[in-house]
Symmetry: C2
Subunit: 471 residues, 2 copies
């Protein structure tokens, strides 16, 4: 079986596309658009990758409608690109072979919240902030927080995580079941509301992180957590990256159930000071958050403060009030905007390596030296409790010489992480940007992935050109 | 594509089997056996399912040797049955179409323990007790505890969990990466040592729970946890099942990170009293365990004691010393033997439903009434924090009338759980015993599973006759 053959790019058949657009326009009326501006809004807009727009955009309101759309596209072998909020950092919503963008924004109903079971059933277009606003009065929350107010369908598709993952896990750990529309339009449910199951293959986990290449997620059953009795945040600066990393390793090794432990290098702290009007010392800094009972939080934070001191950290600067905490974490979430101000006219190029935590200091220090040698403006921020960090390269993307240097730097960074037994992407996904490194990282295991893709989507109509190299 | 066709049973070709046995005997010498006693030891011996023995047993000592064995079998399309310690409760090691049992017992090396990263790399034949003995001096432990001293390869293949899962998760949550030998003999690595990754399909999670039907796991990278500073165990009895269940729901809802919360009904408590010489009140009883700092354990247990009281529970009977705790949990783990004593001459038939915790009381009470009406000796024990419970039906398996009643009871139990949005198996797997209920539970999602099976193992040589109905 020639898998490579089965992964070849879909042949662009303009007649087929016209037939599909006409059928969708007839069926969905003003919930379909072929307007250029609308189509441009449904291509990659949040990353530096070249924009590749779809031929049309459709707005379903139910799983049954998604099934109809997919059936129409499947009949004519026209590509389908699932669209959540468009915040992919690896151009996951681009349409390199054209086709139909399915905008899930109208599927934003919270179908059920089961308080006793601490789970909920939601449509894929629900965003994490919308969900948490809905849950607040029940004392529950959904912890996955990738920064952007992404849709839960998109978050599942990219196996998102973010700042709370060190304690609450990633999307992989917080999805109980999915409703998916398969590449032939059939509707399938991948699990139940049981907390665990040993019944057959874990199709739920196969769809989490598949980036829409195996089907479209239309509904999710998600695990929820109780809002902690006490939440306390703090910042603590360190003389150098290595000391900060070692404090993190020790904290994790002690088994302290810390909720967030984020590292910003001095360049990033400077950018946040400017953008968010903070006055933090411009040194490598940990942003910390503790969740628990009052006594539990006190005990945890006391232990971490001791650990920090042992590694030369300064005293904890506490944000105990809700508004101070919000200000702190907003500053953390706004690094994207802070970075853009750092070098006016530049574009933000995200990287996303994740290494075993024992290699974190070494990986960051080598990367920092590489940034200096390469002459880049590139702050670092990391979900260091998981060994995951992002270098935000602020680049003039229309300068080919600079882009060549940037590309070479990112290649070295990805290979460095892979050589340290880590991954080229902790949470952003492969999309269009990291296909070469997927192969470097996984080797022959990519053949297993390709075989599954070919078996479930033999005509390669589901988000073609993502994860796997085409052609 | 006729998936059903691709899942048809392997044609038993006696000439091919003779060729394979000869090749293995030549290559592996006394690490191969076609002796009948040895072969009988490598079929189902721990459950009531009929025994189906393999044609030969081989004992590899490395991944490369497993690859050789699989290549030989693949060439002649002879079935392969991976064998860990043979403790499957659903006949996962049976050989319904004959073939070669690969006994992983000699692949029992702990390859690396990475203290700072809290992970380890081990061969698949390592057992959980062996691993924990190895780890103790480093202050680390591997939490998954299905009762039996199973091999970690077998535990991964059945997505095992057990008493600690409510806090530490199941095998799904504690495997970082696998080395697998695919059905064509090729060796693949499914992940890295990074704590999280968004690089491509989650092939690790696909192999966890695949029951050896997609390939053989030969090495595992496992997450480890720090041995808690303080461990405290207690028992608490309740007037009825419902009160005990409600105490559990409230405990989970409060977010208390309880390490173990096990429910035994009064029949099971009686059996344990007799077998393990305990003097517990013969009432529905919770076995509890708390892990944490001294203050944390005190706080947790204080809160749970209050909750128990609110639901009519008695006072906590504490087992604070290590030997008392061991005695208590040994009694819990020995329910298999305790049950056998309950009805001399009977065999132990395990069930394994798991429901959303809000339905647990209802499901248990209905099941209890059904046991009474059906006239069975059938104690109940449950990992109730996850909504998972086992009815141990003690049956005279050579009495067809009784077995018909037992079978009808188990069918009703599985359907009851599925109707409550639960699963027919929380942790034992499908094996030979639950194939009908996999279809009831998953519907068309089984087609997705079959398509993957057909893509990765087109000749159905990997543990044929398990998970999917053949023929």
């Amino acid at each position: 079986m020639s898998l490579q053959g089965q992964m070849s790019p879909p042949h662009r058949d303009n007649d087929a596309i016209m037939l599909v657009l006409e059928a969708l326009a007839n069926r969905f009326g003003d919930r379909f658009s072929a307007n250029r501006t609308v189509r441009e809004q449904h291509a990659n807009i949040t990353s530096w990758h070249p924009v590749k727009i779809p031929d049309g955009v459709v707005y379903p309101e139910s799983t049954a409608e998604v099934s109809e759309i997919v059936s129409i596209c499947a009949k004519h072998r026209v590509p389908i690109i699932p669209f959540g909020t468009g915040t992919s950092l690896e151009a996951g919503v681009n349409a390199p072979f054209g086709g139909v963008s399915i905008d899930m924004g109208r599927m934003s109903r919270v179908i059920a919240v089961n308080e006793d079971d601490m789970d909920c059933v939601v449509e894929a277009g629900v965003t994490r902030k919308q969900l948490n606003a809905h849950l607040r009065s029940q004392g529950l929350f959904f912890p996955i927080d990738p920064g952007a107010d992404a849709s839960v369908g998109g978050m599942a598709s990219t196996r998102a995580s973010g700042t709370n993952a060190v304690r609450y896990g990633t999307m992989k750990d917080n999805v109980l079941a999915l409703t998916v529309v398969m590449p032939d339009g059939s509707i399938r449910k991948t699990g139940t509301r049981a907390r665990k199951s040993a019944a057959g293959y874990d199709i739920t986990r196969l769809f989490v992180g598949a980036e829409g290449t195996l089907g479209i997620i239309t509904e999710l059953t998600l695990k929820l957590h109780g809002i902690p009795q006490t939440i306390a945040s703090a910042v603590c600066s360190f003389p150098d990256l290595e000391s900060a990393c070692n404090a993190v390793i020790t904290t994790i090794r002690y088994g302290i159930p810390i909720a967030r432990i984020e590292l910003l290098d001095e360049v990033q702290v400077h950018a946040c000071n400017v953008h968010s009007k903070l006055t933090l010392p411009e040194l490598p800094t940990l942003f910390l958050e503790f969740h628990g009972t009052e006594a539990g939080v006190q005990e945890q934070s006391g232990t971490v403060a001791e650990i920090a001191k042992d590694f030369g950290g300064g005293s904890f600067d506490w944000a105990l009030q809700a508004e101070d905490r919000t200000r702190l974490w907003e500053a953390r979430h706004n690094v994207y905007w802070a970075c853009l101000e750092l070098r006016p006219g530049s574009k933000f190029i995200a990287t996303d390596v994740c290494v075993p935590i024992s290699r974190l200091a070494e990986c960051m220090v080598q990367t920092k030296a590489d940034i200096g040698k390469t002459g880049l403006v590139a702050p670092i921020v990391g979900h260091v409790g998981d060994g995951n960090f992002h270098v935000s390269v602020m680049a003039m993307t229309d300068d080919p010489e600079e882009m060549a240097r940037v590309k070479a730097f990112i290649d070295r960074l990805n290979l460095r992480a892979i050589e340290m037994n880590g991954t080229c992407t902790g949470e952003h996904g492969i999309g269009e940007g990291k296909q070469e490194f997927l192969v470097r990282e996984h080797g022959a295991n990519v053949d297993t992935m390709r075989a599954i893709k070919a078996a479930l989507d033999p005509h390669n109509i589901m988000n073609p050109g993502k994860i796997f190299r085409s052609g």
